[in-house]
Amino acid sequence: MVVNPFIAIEQVCKTFPSDAGPVPVIDNVSLTIGEGEFVVFLGPSGCGKTTLMRMVGGLDHPTRGLIRLGGEPVLGPSRAKGMVFQSYSSFPWLTVLKNIRFGLKYRDDVSETEKDRIARHYLDLVGLTPYADFYVSKVSGGMRQRVAIARTLAANPQVLLMDEPFGALDAQTRERLQVQLLDIRHAERKTVIFVTHDVDEAIFLADRIVVFSARPARLIRDIAVASRVPGERTLDNRESRPFLELRREILAIIREEAQRNEASLMAAG
C-alpha cells in the first residue's frame, strides 16, 4: 500500500551503553511508511518500539542506519515531527487554550491573530471549547491527552508521533479517545506513528500494524489491517469476526515471541 516512501527507516540499529557493554535494542529494522498512513508499532513492553519512534522524531539517534522524512535525513527534533507523550504531555502552568496556542508559539509562517484562530480551531476539534480557560491540572487525564494532541496538530507537523498516549487512561476513557483520534485523523489526514502494546487498540486505529520482537526489536510482521478487517471502524466493528480473528493471530505471534525470548534468556542465564 506504500505509495511513496514518506518515511524511510533504513537498516537501523541501536545499542545502549551499559556497565556490561553495549546492549542492542533495535536490530536492523528497515521499514517505509507512506504519506497519510496510520502505522501502529506493536510489541512487548520495553522492546525498543518507542526508541524507534523517538528516532523518527529526532529525539534519539540510530547507532547505525538512517531515517528519512520526505527524502531528508532526520538529524534532530523539529516542528515537522510532532510528539505526544503518555505523561507530562501538557504544561501545568498554562490553561487548556494556552497549551494549544503554545504549539504555534515558534511558527513564523502565520500571524498572531491567525495563531489565535488556529488554536481555537484545534480546541474545538478536540471538543474542549468549554474548558478553554481551565488549567490542565483541573481537567481529566483524557482531556489532558486531547490537549496534547491539539497542541501538536496546531504546530502543523508532517508526522504525528504518539508514544502510548492512552496508556495511563482507564478503559472507558481510552476507548472514547480512540474513536475521537480516528475522527481527528479523518479531518486532518496526517501521517501517524502510534506506539502501543495493546492489541485491540492497534487493530482499531491502524491502517497497518508493524509487530516487533522482544528486545532487541526486530520487525517480525507487517499487517495491512484494512484488507483484513473490512468496514468502518466503529466500536461494533471491534466485535466482528475478522477483528477477533486478527486479534487472536497477533496475540499468538506475541505470545510465541515472548516464550521464545524467555527460553533464550534461560539458555543465556
Binding site: 527534533p77 504544561f91 502552568w93 504549539g103 491540572s137
Partner: protein, 278 residues
C-alpha cells in the same frame, strides 16, 4: 473484602475531629490545627509570664514578658529601633536579590550545559562548605566595615547554596516538557525561558524563601562582628550592658520579621501557583 474490617471511609467522615489529630497520618481540620498552634504559643507565653513574675529565675537571665514589652517601647521611643530594623531588612534584601539574580541564570545553565556544570560544580561545592563566620575576617580585610562587606558576607552564605538548589530545580523538570518544546521548534534559549523557567518556578520560589531565612542568620553574624547599626548590633550592644530585655526584644523582632515574610511568600505562592492544586 473480609467482614470484620469496619467501613473506614464513612468512619473517617463522622470521626471526632480531635481523634484525627492522634491517628497516624491523620488529617486535622485546618481551624483546629491553627487553634492548637496559637494555643501552644500562648501556653509558652503564660508559662514564661508566671515563671518570671514569681521571681523563680533571676530577671538578668529571664526578664518577664512585660519587661520585654517595656524594652521594645524604649527601643522604638529612645533609640530609633525603626532605623535599625530598616537597615537590617535593607541588607538582607539587597544580598538576597543579588544572590537570586546571579543564581537563577547560572543554576539553569549549570543543569542545561554539562560544560557549565563541570566547570562550576567543584568550585561551588567547595565554597558551599566554608562556614560563613570563618569568612568574616576576609570580608573585613577586603571591604572594610561598610555596607559592602556585610552584603558580601550574606551573598557568600547564600549564593553558593542557592545556585545548587536552582540547578536541581531545573534538572527535575520532566524531560517530556523539554522534548515537547523541541518538537514544537523551540531553540535552547526559548526552552530555558518558556519551558524550564515556568516549570521549575514553584519549587524555585520555595527554595528562595528558605534562602531568605538563611540571610537573616548571616546578617546577625555580620552585624555582631562589625556594625554600628542594625538589629544584630542592637542585640550585641544590649548584651554588653546586660540589658537582657533589650536582647529579647531584638531576637523577637527578627523572629517576627521572619515569620511575617515567610507567611507572605507562602501566601503569594499559593495564589500564584493555584494551578498546582489538583
Amino acid at each position: 473484602m473480609s467482614a470484620p474490617e469496619p467501613n473506614r471511609r464513612s468512619g473517617e467522615a463522622s470521626e471526632n475531629a480531635w481523634l484525627a489529630l492522634f491517628r497516624f497520618r491523620g488529617r486535622a481540620a485546618p481551624n483546629l490545627d491553627l487553634g492548637i498552634g496559637v494555643a501552644s504559643f500562648i501556653a509558652i507565653l503564660v508559662a514564661w509570664f508566671v515563671v518570671a513574675e514569681l521571681g523563680w529565675i533571676n530577671p538578668q537571665f529571664l526578664p518577664s514578658p512585660l519587661g520585654v514589652l517595656e524594652a521594645v517601647y524604649r527601643l522604638f521611643a529612645d533609640q530609633n529601633f525603626t532605623a535599625d530594623i530598616g537597615v537590617s531588612i535593607f541588607r538582607v534584601w539587597v544580598a538576597f536579590v543579588v544572590s537570586a539574580l546571579m543564581a537563577i541564570p547560572l543554576g539553569i545553565l549549570m543543569s542545561s550545559y554539562r560544560i557549565v556544570g563541570a566547570v562550576t560544580e567543584p568550585i561551588v561545592d567547595f565554597i558551599r562548605y566554608l562556614p560563613v563566620p570563618a569568612l568574616v575576617p576576609l570580608t573585613l580585610i577586603w571591604l572594610g566595615i561598610g555596607e559592602m562587606s556585610k552584603i558580601t558576607l550574606l551573598w557568600l552564605g547564600t549564593f553558593f547554596q542557592l545556585v545548587l538548589l536552582i540547578a536541581d530545580d531545573a534538572r527535575r523538570v520532566p524531560k517530556e516538557y523539554v522534548e515537547t518544546g523541541r518538537t514544537l521548534g523551540a531553540n535552547d534559549r526559548e526552552l530555558m525561558k518558556d519551558i524550564l523557567l515556568p516549570a521549575m518556578l514553584p519549587s524555585m520560589v520555595d527554595n528562595l524563601r528558605i534562602t531568605l531565612g538563611w540571610c537573616w542568620t548571616y546578617l546577625i553574624i555580620a552585624e555582631i562582628v562589625a556594625a554600628n547599626s542594625g538589629i544584630g548590633y542592637v542585640i550585641w550592644a544590649a548584651k554588653r550592658y546586660v540589658k537582657t530585655p533589650e536582647v529579647f526584644a531584638g531576637v523577637l523582632a527578627i523572629g517576627i520579621i521572619g515569620l511575617v515574610t515567610d507567611q507572605l511568600i507562602r501566601w503569594a505562592h499559593r495564589k500564584t501557583f493555584r494551578y498546582l492544586g489538583a
